[in-house]
Every structure is written in structure tokens, then in C-alpha cells.
């Protein structure tokens, strides 16, 4: 056996029970450096809750969460209110809880491809631009672990594709671990190292190709899902070739 590097974050038999209802049940999960782990599952499967427990926002009732010492985490939450009542510029959004120099801001926005929007109003951003701004915000913290809860919500199909490519390139350039939540199946597969299929407990997990053949996965999502994944994988490969990435 060879010695493994300590994971960035590990959960051991993590459970959450609220009013006798098991929201999370015995979840074992680890994210390592340079790894994209994607949690998929139907609505109400506890995906966002699992992420919140791992971030320490919700207290678990069973099990433990173990983080590497002084782990720097960048978080992009689900459901960011686009029509927030607070009048904000992108610059201000990025520096809400952390001061940054102009050079740092430019660098983070350049990395997510919206450097021209530094003085734009947050309320005027499109869905994709907002997600990129939030991603830049998370990158400013030089994260070792990026936690992205539904990063492609309110983004159109083409935008989704580009966002996943961006996330993948961040992993390559920064070497951080990425924990991602998604409910749409067709996109996440190709870029993920490991897919975790959650429905309160972990139904199945593994490499994308293996998971989509797993009977548990088929039971949860049905055979139609697999066809979309196949279609996407094809389309995605094609996209790569045509643009010479």
C-alpha cells in the first residue's frame, strides 16, 4: 500500500436528523487536492444541507467533519438573491468580508473572464456573470477547497458549458480541490473525477462512467438521464476539438 495525502476535508458517518426526519444519513465523503467531486441527487436529497454541514453552517447530529488544518475555503452559495435590496457594485461584492487591492481584484475577475465588469451594478448582471463574480469572490481568498453549490443555476445552456470549462481550468491552474453540487446531470459528468449520488444517504459513487451504469443511479434518475449524459459527452468533446482547447 502507498501512503495517501491527507484529504482537504473528510466526513465520517455524517448524519443530520431534524424532528425525527433523517435529512442526511451516514455520509462518508472526502475531497482531495486537484480533485473535482460532484454531488448529484434529486430535489430534497440533502445536497445543499450536506455542503452547509461541511462548511460548519449547520450543526450535524451524528458523525464528524474533519478539515485539514487552517483550510482556506471559497464558497459560492446556492440561491444568491439577484435582486438583493442592497445596492452593490461588483467591486464591493468582492470585498464585503475581505479587503483586496485593485490588482488582486483585476486578477480574480480576469480569471473568471469578467474583468470589464468591475464597476458594474450587481443587480444588472446576467445569471452567468453573477456566478462568475461570485466565483471570482471565492478565488480572492486563495482557496484550497472551492465549494460550489449549483454553480450553473440561472445560466443558459451555452453559458453552462463555458462555466464548467472555467471550473475545470481553475482546478488545473490552481490545483485546488472542488466540491460541487448539481441537480442537472447532463453537464457535470465529463469534468468530475468522482460523482456522488446522494439521496439522504450515498446511493452510489465513483467515476462518472461507472456511476451512470450503476443500478442505484438508474433507479434514482431513470434511463432517460443516461441518454442526456451521453449526448452531452459527445457534444462536449466536439466543442473541445472545434475550438482547439
Amino acid at each position: 500500500m502507498f501512503k495517501l495525502v491527507e484529504p482537504l476535508i473528510t466526513t465520517h458517518r455524517l448524519g443530520l436528523t431534524i424532528a425525527n426526519r433523517k435529512i442526511l444519513d451516514a455520509v462518508n465523503l472526502a475531497v482531495r487536492e486537484r480533485e473535482i467531486v460532484t454531488i448529484i441527487g434529486p430535489n430534497g436529497a440533502g445536497k445543499s444541507t450536506l455542503v452547509k454541514v461541511m462548511l460548519g453552517l449547520v450543526q450535524q447530529t451524528q458523525g464528524t467533519v474533519q478539515r485539514r488544518e487552517n483550510l482556506r475555503v471559497g464558497y459560492v452559495p446556492q440561491r444568491f438573491p439577484v435582486t438583493s435590496n442592497v445596492p452593490l457594485s461588483v467591486r464591493r461584492l468582492l470585498t464585503l468580508t475581505r479587503k483586496a487591492t485593485d490588482a488582486e481584484l483585476q486578477q480574480a475577475l480576469l480569471e473568471t473572464g469578467i474583468e470589464h465588469l468591475i464597476n458594474a451594478r450587481v443587480a444588472e448582471l446576467s445569471g452567468g456573470e453573477l456566478q462568475r463574480a461570485l466565483l471570482a469572490r471565492a478565488l480572492l481568498r486563495q482557496p484550497e477547497l472551492l465549494v460550489l453549490d449549483e454553480p450553473v443555476q440561472a445560466v443558459d445552456f451555452n453559458g453552462e458549458l463555458k462555466l464548467y470549462e472555467l471550473i475545470s481550468s481553475i482546478r488545473k491552474s490552481r490545483g485546488c480541490g472542488i466540491l460541487m453540487v448539481s441537480h442537472d446531470l447532463h453537464m457535470v459528468m465529463a469534468e468530475s473525477d468522482r460523482v456522488i449520488c446522494l439521496n439522504g444517504h450515498i446511493c452510489c459513487e465513483g467515476k462518472p462512467a461507472a456511476v451512470q451504469k450503476d443500478p442505484e443511479f438508474l433507479k434514482l434518475f431513470g434511463p432517460a438521464a443516461v441518454r442526456t449524459i451521453a449526448a452531452y459527452t459527445h457534444h462536449h468533446d466536439h466543442d473541445h476539438e472545434s475550438h482547439g482547447h
Binding site: 431534524i18 424532528a19 452547509k52 462548511l55 460548519g56 453552517l57 475555503v73 464558497y75 452559495p77 444568491f80 438573491p81 438583493s84 435590496n85 442592497v86 445596492p87 452593490l88 457594485s89 464591493r92 461584492l93 464585503l96 468580508t97 475581505r98 451594478r121 450587481v122 443587480a123 444588472e124 481568498r141
Partner: protein, 265 residues
Amino acid sequence: MSILTEPFFIRALLSGLGIALIAGPIGCFIVWRRMAYFGETLAHAGLLGVGFGLLFNINITLGAVASAVLLALLLLALKRQRQIAVDTLLGILSHTALALGLITVGLVTGAVSGHLDILFGDILTVSSHDVLIVWAGAVAVLAVIIYLWRDLIAISVHEDLARAEGVNVPWVELIFMLTMAAMTAFAMKIVGLLLITALTVIPAAAARRISSSPEAMAIWSSLFAGLAVVAGLIMSALWGTIAGPSVVLCASLIFVLTLAAPQRN
């Protein structure tokens, strides 16, 4: 217009402007965090405090602060339970406090009608001592808000994100609720308990349309609240209208006027 230079009128103006100064930023947070109903509930708790103050013969401002603070703490604790939705809970607490407050005041004094000033304010009878208390309170509240400003903005934009990034959310929330409770008690005599929420929310709503940063919105809200105080008092002096509601009406007028301004985000 000699009435405008009478000492009682100057005192009314000064105390009203003291309240306007803190109504601005507090109103912004009420608007950003969608807490208008919470402010309403605090005000009703204030009335209950006044009732107890009269009953036990203690200072009614102190009674109002104490009961508003207690209610804020109770709500903070009850927010964690998941049996009843928070706005339903507010509806229950708010009107229970109002009913209990009215009954207590009525029992102690024989008639509630003698205490309409608590509900609608009696700014024209404030003493120099009252003016001092209002300004001391306003400066203290403003200092606390400025101290917590960054964290308060972060929480208003996204609570979970702020918490994940190290903001001590329960602590900041508690302190903010306490400053709201304090302001409610200070403003009670000026605009009255039933109109306090109006003087915080309406100027902030007006400022939202023309502001491009949180700071600009807070400053505009204070300015609009101050303008409403001045205009409302002049209206009251000229036409003999009740002062508190006149101030609120002027705030509403300002809001309507800002609708004509182009929306900024």
C-alpha cells in the same frame, strides 16, 4: 410665522432630527433584511413596556427599552425552531404585545385615550431634557452601527456566505436588534409607537431608488427622514395637524417624488 421660532418648536425639530439621524441607517437594514414586520413588533412590545412602567411606577422609556429588548431576545431564540414560520410568530407576538399593552395602560390610567401620545407621538411637548436624551441615545446607536457596519452589510447581502467567511452572525444580529429596540424607545415620544416603522422604512425605500452604494443609501435615508421631520412639523404648525402622522405623511410624499427619479441599482 413666529411659531417656527418658539422654543417648543425648536426642541421638537432638534429631537426629530436626532431620531432621523439613526432612522436612516436602521431603516436601510430593515429594508435590506426584510424586517419591517419585526420593527412593528418591537414597537408594540414598547407599548407593553410603557404599560408595565406605569403599573410599577418606573420610567416608561426604560420600561419600553426593557420590553423591546426582551422581545428581541425571545424572537432570536424562537427563530431557531421550525414549527411556526417566523412571520406568523411575529404576527402573534406583535398583536399580543399590543393588546396586553393597551389593556395594561387602560387598567392603570382608567382610559387609554389619555395616552394617545404614546401611540402617535407628542413631539411638540418634548423638554430640553428629552432632547438631550434623544441625542445621547442617537449618537450611541450610530456609533454601534458604524462599528458593525461591514459585518451588517455582509449579513444583509448573504447570511450564509457571511457566516462561512467568518462573520459572527448571531452576535451581530443580537447587537443590531438591541439597537433597534433602543431606537424604538427613544422615538416613542417623538413619532409614536405606531409610526416608528414608517419613519425608518419609508425614507429608506425612497433612498433605495437613487443610491448606488450602501453608504449612499444610508445617508440619503437620514436626509429624507430629516426632511420629513422638518416638513411635517411645519405642516403641523401651519395647519394644526397632529405632528407624528404629519411627519410620516411627508416621508411618504418624498417617497412618491423619488418614484419620478430614474432607478439605480
